[in-house]
Each structure stands twice: as structure tokens, then as C-alpha cells.
């Protein structure tokens, strides 16, 4: 048994692509070794990566495959042997499989008698197999973006391959990948080790040898080192903490081979810039960790993760360099902030005419007008329901929401759109409700993100998104399959989430109605309206599909519960959630499962009746069997109670009441032949069960529930 090491040496791989490639290479090598019987099934391998390398170490690799015997079948026996004498067909088969004719044997199968041969195959050595198979396993790794580098374009890969180490214990496997012959020489840290080759004496020594060359090849170890070093450096500032930022930790883990951490400072005067701007500069532009004080507020420090280890003089130089860069970026931001204040948001609205929202639809000035229309409609519904909010502040926020698109600071930090508008609104003395609504307009950014807290911001968020969805549907830009270039699904998910998690008295149909007719393009594109585009029913269906997604994937309700609940009404989002929760709790009871089964049966019977064109009659005037009469009485008694509970949204108690129907329902189906030959009786039965179905399906369509 040997250890096998493969290391692919590369020029710096983009940090975002390394983790996925490391996993994939590990899997490919494992699969190859398993497939070729060089390791036992289920064997695990270790994987490593740094910006300059991907590596795999497998233990327990056999020196060679075991020999195998194979039974091969050839032509029909009677074709190959005439009177026991081999003819041409037998000879050809023997030659093909590499045995003597005398070694051919008769094989009897269900289909008849055939010529057979037992062939011994010598197992290939691990070296042979790896040499032959590794190149294509490596070169077909998935990369989000590839490049050519060699003349003649023989292969594409994420970056040029510069060295390959392939060892079985200490023996080089003579594989060639992208024109590079494998050896036992790796490379160390570019600066700390330099260009001298790093010879790996044996596969198992890989990590330790590279550590001596100032490369930590294990990702988990670098992550741990970085986190510890961030903690340690932060302790230099009393009471401070570094701001946890997992994505940033992952990025710097994949940007370093020998990480160390350095604390830098900036002048307190920059803390007057909004925290959002400071953090964006530090995190997104410089990959620095922000530091906060005891009060949770930003402190004038930052942490940068270095890909080197330097002496005190070096630390001072690097700290100084990073501080200078940061300050010049802060200065830029402050410059843009000051310049932007010269033109208040209100004055910027006019210039939105020159900013395209969507070329067939119009500019952001057009978009703003449309948003105002939608917001007014939504506001009217909310007001009518008696919910208090500041209408004037809402409309001001809608009017100014997109004005920051023309701000220099937004051009510099596009990810802060909305947030900067909100900050400017506050700085320019607009009402707090207006400023906060503008600030929060893009919340929630994802299904994990929180919704805005204030009604004004919630309404702006819904108005903006529903307008976008409706308008895009109007020009035939509805998402199809994996294509959703305008992220309309995300927009609709956010609408549903706001409705679900706020207290807004709005239904999906209120939102659809406020969105208006999808075919309302801007003046210059009137012809678009004549193109026969979908109507608001498509928008409604789209939102309903997003509600389904929300209940199932975000809230985690079972799919049958979601189907059952939405079949009974999909307009009031919070009501649907309450019904789904009650149904999820109720379905566990045995009585309820029986009711669900009974409702399924009722539906089937009614379907049959419809197919046979049986008419549904009234219960009166026909003498019913006692069990039928009991069901009718129980239903008549329960229906008003359930209706009251439903109206009170007391879904749990309502479902418990419905479950009490079980004995009478069971008795009814046991004793009564529903489709009685007598037309009047049959009609009465059908009328009865139709009434039960209709009367008790208002909370959920129980027939959708999957039972035992």
C-alpha cells in the first residue's frame, strides 16, 4: 500500500473558485482510484489548496490492480465448431481475445450454446493508470472562467499550470498535465521561500515539507490561524472586537499561503462618514475587517490579512501603506459626499430622465411616476383598513427613492444604492420616515434578510417591486426556466416576504391591482401596448407561485400542506401561513388523517358523479338512512361553529372541530351506498357530501393531504 500525492501548481487562482475546485479534484481522484480498484470503495482522500496549488493525498493505494479473470462469450457454438472441429469463426474469436483455440469452451445459456473463453487479465500498475487517466481528470475540472495560455491552444484552464507533483510514496508518477511533466519538486511561498524548488521526499510528507517552505496547505488550518490572529491583533485596542464577516474570512483564506494579520488605524475625523460607506470601502474594496468598540460602533481601526510574515520594520511599512490607501479612499468618499450635497435629492429627480430603467419602458423618471401611482393605490387600501402611517412621507420617499442613482457616491459604491439616498435624505432634513424608507427600499435583499420595520418603507418596497414585475411582464420579460435577467423572482419573493412578516393589511390581489395593467409602457413606446402581452392574471399567478415557494422553502411547510392551504385561498399571505401552521399541527392526529382520507373519497365520488352526469340534489324530501341523517345533522351543527372560528382565524380549534366529524363520516361511508340506484336518494347523498366538502374546505383542501 502506498500514499499517492498529486499537486497541481498554478499561477494565482481566483479566490472565489478555489474551494469548489479543491472538492471536485478530491472527488475525481477518489472516483478514479476506486473505479480502477486501486483503493477500496469508500476510501477517503485528503485535499489541500492555496492560491497557487490544488493537491490531493490518498492513502492505502495498491501498487497495482489485482489480476482478474473474465468470461468472454463469442459466436454460437454450432457456427464456430463443425463436428467438433474449430473453423474460421472460432479462430477469429480466439485471436481476438488472445487465447489458443484449444482453450475455447462451450458456454450454455438460456439463449443456447456459445463459444466461451476464460481470459486472465493482468492488473495494470497504479503508475500506469494514473499516468494515463489523471490528465483528463484534472483538465476537465470546472472553472467559472477559463483561459488559454499555450500556443496552439491545446487546453483551457483557470490559470497556467506551472508545475506538477505526482508521487506514489517517493516514486514520481510520470504523468504530464498541460505540457508539464510531473516531478517531486513543488514551490514554496513566492517571497518568503523564493524560487528554489521544494522537493517532496515522500507523498505523506507533503504538508510538513511545504510548511518549511512557508506555505500552509490546509485550508482549515489557515482559517484557524487567521481567526486567531484577528483576535490577537484586536486585543491591541481595549474593548474592541473585529466585525465577524465569514465571506471575507473565506476570501482571505484563499488569498494567502502564509497568513498573518496586521492592525491599522485611521484618523477619527473619518468616522463622521456614514458607517455604511466606511465598511464598504474597508470590506469590499480593501478586504479589511472593520473593528468596533464596546458600544458596537465603528472604531478607527482596521485589520488586514497579509500573505507574508515580516519583521517590525516591514510591519511598519505595510501598515503605513495600507493606512494611506484607506485614507485616500475615505477622502474620495468624503469628496463625493460633499459634492453630492450641492445637488439635493429633490433636484436630482429631473435628471433621472437621462437614466434608463429599461429601454423599452423608459427612464427612472418614468419609473418614479409609475411607482408613485402604485404607491398611492397601496396607501389607499392601507388607510382604508385603518393602519396609521405617514402618507406624505411615503410619497416623498417614492418620489426621491431613485434620485441617488445620479449621485457620485453611488457611482463609486453602486452596492450602496438606496442606503446612500436614505443617508442624503436625512442629511438634507427630510422626514425620518422618508429617509428610512429610502434607506430600506431594497430590503429584504434575500429570503434570509430582514424586512424593513416601518410601514412607509414596506410600502415603498412593495410598490417599487410590483411596478417592476408588472411592467416587465408587460413587455414579455417574465422569467422562464433558469432565465430571470431582471431578478423578478427575487423581487416577488421580497413582496411575499414583506406581506408575510409585516402587519400590512394587503393581499396579493391588492398588490396586483395596484401594479395595474401590465401593458402600460411609456409614451414613446405606445406600440408595445398593442403587442398582445400578458395581463394581470399572469402577475397574480407568478406571485402565487412565489407564495408557494415561500411557504415551502422559506417557512419549511410540507408540500401537501402548502397545496392544501393554497387551494383554499392564496390571497392573504399571513392567513395562509396561519392556516398552514394549524394544519401542520392538526394533521398529526389520527382523526384528522381519517378526515383527510374521507375528503379525498368525497372528491372522487363527486368526480365520478359528474362524469356520469348524476345530478346533485337537495337533502330535503328524501328519507335518508340514519348514518346519512347523522352526518347531515352533525355537519349542520358544526358548520356555523367552524365558520365563526374561521372568521376569528382560530384555525387550530376549527380544525379540531372538523376532526370530530370522524365517527359520523366513517359510519356514513361504512353503511351508506352513496351512489344509490334511486336517483332522488343518490342526489340527496351527493348534495350532502358536496355540502360537507364545501362547508369544511375553507381553511384547507384536506383532500390534498397525503395520508399514511
Amino acid at each position: 500500500m502506498a500514499e499517492f500525492l498529486l499537486e497541481i501548481g498554478l499561477e494565482e487562482i481566483p479566490a472565489r473558485m478555489i474551494a469548489g475546485a479543491e472538492v471536485e479534484l478530491g472527488k475525481r481522484v477518489t472516483d478514479l482510484l476506486t473505479r480502477e480498484r486501486l483503493v477500496d470503495a469508500g476510501a477517503a482522500v485528503k485535499t489541500f489548496s492555496t492560491p497557487r496549488r490544488l493537491a490531493v493525498l490518498a492513502e492505502g493505494v495498491r501498487a497495482a490492480q489485482s489480476d482478474i479473470e473474465e468470461q468472454l462469450t463469442g459466436p454460437s457454438w454450432t457456427v464456430a465448431f463443425k463436428d467438433g472441429v474449430a473453423n474460421k469463426a472460432a479462430e477469429a474469436f480466439a485471436k481476438k481475445v488472445g487465447v489458443d483455440v484449444s482453450a475455447l469452451e462451450k458456454v450454455t445459456s438460456a439463449k443456447g450454446e456459445y463459444v466461451g473463453a476464460t481470459v486472465k487479465r493482468a492488473g495494470r500498475t497504479a503508475g500506469e493508470i494514473l499516468t494515463a487517466e489523471l490528465p483528463k481528470e484534472v483538465l476537465t475540472l470546472y472553472w467559472a472562467k477559463n483561459m488559454y495560455w499555450r500556443a496552439g491552444k491545446p487546453e483551457r484552464f483557470v490559470r497556467p499550470v506551472r508545475w506538477v507533483v505526482a508521487l506514489l510514496d517517493s516514486v514520481v508518477v510520470p504523468v504530464e498535465i498541460a505540457g508539464i511533466a510531473a516531478g517531486n519538486a513543488s514551490r514554496g511561498h513566492r517571497v518568503l521561500h523564493g524560487e528554489a524548488p521544494v522537493v517532496i521526499g515522500a507523498a505523506g510528507e507533503y504538508a510538513e515539507v511545504l510548511r518549511r517552505a512557508k506555505v500552509v496547505v490546509e485550508v482549515a488550518e489557515r482559517r484557524h490561524l487567521i481567526r486567531k490572529a484577528l483576535d490577537k491583533e484586536t486585543r491591541g485596542v481595549a474593548g474592541a472586537r473585529w466585525r465577524e464577516d465569514e465571506p471575507l474570512v473565506e476570501t482571505v483564506v484563499h488569498l494567502t499561503e502564509w497568513p498573518t494579520v496586521l492592525l491599522g488605524n485611521f484618523a477619527e475625523e473619518y468616522l463622521t462618514l456614514p458607517e455604511e460607506v466606511l465598511v464598504t470601502v474597508m470590506r469590499d474594496h480593501q478586504k479589511y475587517f472593520a473593528v468596533e468598540g464596546k458600544d458596537g460602533k465603528l472604531a478607527p481601526h482596521f485589520l488586514t490579512v497579509l500573505n507574508t510574515e515580516v519583521d517590525a520594520e516591514g510591519r511598519a511599512i505595510i501598515q503605513h501603506g495600507n493606512e494611506k490607501v484607506l485614507v485616500s479612499r475615505f477622502k474620495d468618499a468624503r469628496f463625493f459626499w460633499d459634492v453630492d450635497q450641492k445637488t439635493p435629492l429633490a433636484e436630482r429627480v429631473e435628471s433621472l430622465k437621462a437614466v434608463t430603467f429599461q429601454k423599452e419602458l423608459g427612464s427612472y423618471a418614468w419609473k418614479t411616476e409609475q411607482n408613485l401611482r402604485v404607491a398611492r393605490d397601496l396607501a389607499a387600501v392601507v388607510e382604508a383598513a385603518g393602519v396609521a402611517f405617514d402618507r406624505a412621507s411615503l410619497l416623498k420617499a417614492v418620489e426621491l427613492a431613485k434620485a441617488d442613482l445620479t449621485a457620485e457616491l453611488v457611482k463609486e459604491f453602486t452596492e450602496l444604492q438606496g442606503i446612500i439616498g436614505g443617508l442624503y435624505a436625512r442629511a438634507q432634513g427630510l422626514s425620518e420616515a422618508t429617509a428610512q424608507a429610502i434607506y430600506d427600499q431594497y430590503k429584504p435583499a434575500s429570503t434570509e434578510d430582514a424586512i424593513p420595520g416601518a410601514v412607509e418603507a414596506q410600502l415603498l418596497g412593495i410598490a417599487d417591486r410590483i411596478q417592476t414585475i408588472t411592467a416587465m411582464f408587460g413587455i414579455g420579460m417574465a422569467p422562464t426556466g433558469s432565465k430571470d435577467p431582471f431578478a423578478l423572482r427575487r423581487a416577488a419573493n421580497s413582496v411575499v416576504k414583506i406581506l408575510a412578516e409585516s402587519e400590512l393589511p394587503l393581499t396579493l390581489s391588492d398588490a396586483v391591482a395596484a401594479g395595474g395593467n401590465p401593458s402600460q409602457p411609456s409614451d414613446k413606446n405606445k406600440d408595445v401596448a398593442r403587442m398582445g402581452h400578458p395581463g394581470s392574471s399572469d402577475v397574480a399567478a407568478f406571485l402565487r407561485e412565489r407564495l408557494h415557494f415561500y411557504l415551502k422553502d422559506v417557512r419549511g411547510f410540507a408540500y401537501d400542506v402548502v397545496n392544501a392551504v393554497l387551494a383554499a385561498g392564496a390571497d392573504d399571505v399571513r392567513d395562509a401561513i396561519a392556516r398552514a401552521a394549524a394544519l401542520t399541527a392538526a394533521r398529526r392526529s389520527e382523526d384528522f388523517a381519517a378526515i383527510s382520507a374521507a375528503f379525498k373519497r368525497i372528491k372522487n365520488i363527486l368526480r365520478q358523479a359528474e362524469e356520469k352526469k348524476f345530478s346533485i340534489g337537495a337533502a330535503g324530501g328524501v328519507k335518508l338512512a340514519p348514518e346519512a341523517q347523522q352526518l347531515a345533522d352533525a355537519a349542520a351543527f358544526l358548520a356555523p361553529k367552524v365558520a365563526v372560528l374561521r372568521a376569528e382565524r382560530a384555525y387550530g380549534p376549527a380544525l379540531a372541530e372538523i376532526a370530530t366529524l370522524r365517527p359520523v363520516v366513517d359510519a356514513f361511508f361504512d353503511k351508506v351506498m352513496v351512489l344509490d340506484p334511486d336517483e332522488a336518494v343518490r342526489g340527496a347523498h351527493l348534495g350532502l357530501i358536496d355540502g360537507v366538502l364545501k362547508g369544511f374546505s375553507g381553511i384547507a383542501d384536506f383532500s390534498e393531504i397525503v395520508t399514511g
Partner: protein
């Protein structure tokens, strides 16, 4: 808990900064370094360009199979980036030291690191990272993958492996290294403003001439021109006129290059290089119009498309001509 300003690190190597290379020495060193490694040194291209990439020494030389190594300092104009000389970090015209290595040597990154040592950067005392940064110039049908090279948090070089140019796959590809000279000089000299960079020092008196003394007036006046004075209708006239001439030449070139009866001599003497200059003129006029705010969002894509037609058209014709 908050620290006082004095805790912010002061220049650790104040002495080193004084002995740092002047702006022109920086250029000499880079030129010398790469000349010793087999590069032709070219002079800046004498037509307005937005980046060293657009000069024909890059845009056209990267086409076709012929190996080529060239370096040149290219003043690069971006009218909209002008700040009247008031912003310490932004310029209307900055200087790129542009290097094309076609095909790239296998040790191109190591050579690059040596070039940093050559301009006085002791890598053992700095933090260096190659961070993914891909590049594209849609109007030139050009793109590549590569890195921004970060030194102590500052982007000092754009390193690109060109993959396509003029809409054509390159084979061999080339490495393009673009050093931002002002940034590197400000870093080496540890000055807070580009205008404080020492451009040159009198060898006898040691008196310094600063970047500001050499270029500030130009930044101011061109900002005034670009933002306030450039005559928009005339800019459009120039644009249309240059485009028409380039278009006419390009049509002729395409007809000639496709003509089987035309001689090689005739094909080779066709002035595609001049046609490309006309396309560059259009590109610069577009940037001026943009700085004047004269290009509406709806027009923008269309105008870029017109420039692309010229630039990509010339590149395609050039590729044919060079193998005629």
C-alpha cells in the same frame, strides 16, 4: 478607547522615501529592466488614447502569430476623470507603462516581481497579492483574464492574459502588464498627492521638480476644456467626419483584401494603420462628448457600437493583411 491621531503610523522609512526613485527614474528603471529582457522600447503613441492597450503597439501587434515584446509609457486620457488638479489621486491624463509579452514566458510572474525589486521595492518588507481582476474593452472586442497586483493594499499593476482582440481568438496569447506610474511613484516616494511626486532632481543642486510643476496646469486647463468649453456640435462633427473617413478606408481595405487579383504589394501598402488612428480619434471624441454629458443613455450603446465597428473592422482587416 479611540486612539489619537498620533497613533496612526507615521512614515516608517522617511529616509527611504527621500532616496526613492524620481518619476522619471522610475520610468528609466522599468524601461531598462525590460529592455534587458528582450523588449523593444517604443515611444508613446502620438494620438489620444484612453489606455496603453489602445495604442497599435498593443491592439494590433497582439494579433497574428508573430512573437513580439514591447514596452512603452503611454499617457492615457480619460476626460471624465479630470478634477481640475484639485483631487490628489485622480487625473485626466495618467501614465501607464505598458508591456506586451507575446507569447508570455513561463516565468512571467517571476520576471514581474524582479521588476518590482528593480524599482526599489524590497518584497520581504511588503505584502503582495495577485487578486483576480479580469479586463475587457468591449469597443475593441478585446478581453482577458488576470489580476490586479496589490502591494500593501494598493493596486500597482494590472496583469492580463489577453484572450481575444478585435473579436478574434489570439494564438499565441500575450501577457499585458500595465504599471500605473503615478501611483507607484507616489507609493515609493510616500507622498499624499500625485502633484507632490518628485518628477526629477537636479543632479548638482538636488533641487526637485514636482509632478505638479510639470503637469498641474495641463490638468486644470484640460478639465476646463473637457467639462466646460469643448464645443459639443463640433465634437459631433469631428466624430462623424473621422468616422466617415475611417469607414470609407475600411470598406476599400475589405474589398482589396478580398480581391484575389490584387497583388500582395498592393495589399500590404494599404493604410490600415492610418485607418486605426481615425478610429482612435473617434474613441477620444466619444470620451469628450461623454465628459460634456452630451451622450444620452439611449445613444450611448449606439455610439460605442460605431466605434466598435471601426476598431474591430480594422483589427480583422489587419489580421488578413499581415498574412497577405
Amino acid at each position: 478607547m479611540p486612539v489619537s491621531l498620533s497613533q496612526v503610523s507615521t512614515t516608517p522609512a522617511a529616509g527611504a522615501a527621500k532616496s526613492a526613485l524620481t518619476f522619471q527614474e522610475l520610468l528609466f528603471r522599468l524601461q531598462g529592466f525590460w529592455a534587458e529582457r528582450g523588449c523593444i522600447l517604443q515611444q508613446p503613441y502620438d494620438v489620444e488614447v484612453g489606455a496603453g492597450t489602445m495604442a497599435p503597439e498593443t491592439f494590433l501587434r497582439v494579433l497574428g502569430p508573430k512573437p513580439y515584446r514591447v514596452g512603452y509609457a503611454q499617457p492615457s486620457r480619460r476626460p471624465a476623470d479630470g478634477r481640475y488638479g484639485e483631487n490628489p489621486n485622480r487625473l485626466f491624463k495618467h501614465t501607464q507603462f505598458q508591456l506586451i509579452l507575446k507569447p508570455p514566458p513561463v516565468n512571467v510572474q517571476e520576471l514581474y516581481l524582479e521588476s518590482l525589486e528593480a524599482i526599489g521595492i524590497d518584497l520581504l518588507k511588503h505584502d503582495l497579492k495577485f487578486e483576480e481582476d479580469n479586463w475587457e474593452w468591449p469597443a475593441g472586442g478585446a478581453w482577458g483574464v488576470g489580476w490586479q497586483v496589490m502591494l500593501d493594499g494598493l493596486e500597482i499593476t494590472q496583469f492580463t492574459y489577453f484572450q481575444q482582440c478585435g473579436g478574434m481568438d489570439l494564438d499565441p496569447i500575450c501577457a499585458e502588464l500595465t504599471y500605473g506610474l503615478e501611483r507607484i511613484a507616489a507609493f515609493l516616494q510616500d507622498v499624499d498627492s500625485i502633484y507632490d511626486i518628485v518628477w526629477a532632481r537636479d543632479p548638482e543642486t538636488g533641487a526637485a521638480v514636482t509632478y505638479g510643476e510639470v503637469r498641474l496646469a495641463e490638468e486644470l486647463q484640460f478639465s476646463v476644456y473637457n467639462f466646460e468649453c469643448a464645443d459639443v456640435p463640433r465634437l459631433w462633427e469631428h466624430f462623424n467626419s473621422y468616422e466617415a473617413e475611417a469607414r470609407a478606408l475600411l470598406d476599400k481595405a475589405n474589398a482589396l483584401l478580398a480581391d484575389e487579383k490584387a497583388s500582395v504589394v498592393e495589399k500590404r501598402r494599404f493604410p490600415l494603420l492610418a485607418t486605426y488612428e481615425l478610429a482612435l480619434k473617434c474613441s477620444n471624441l466619444f470620451n469628450l462628448l461623454d465628459a460634456r454629458g452630451a451622450i444620452s443613455v439611449t445613444e450611448r450603446v449606439g455610439v460605442i457600437g460605431r466605434i466598435r465597428n471601426l476598431a474591430v473592422g480594422v483589427a480583422k482587416a489587419y489580421a488578413v493583411q499581415s498574412v497577405a
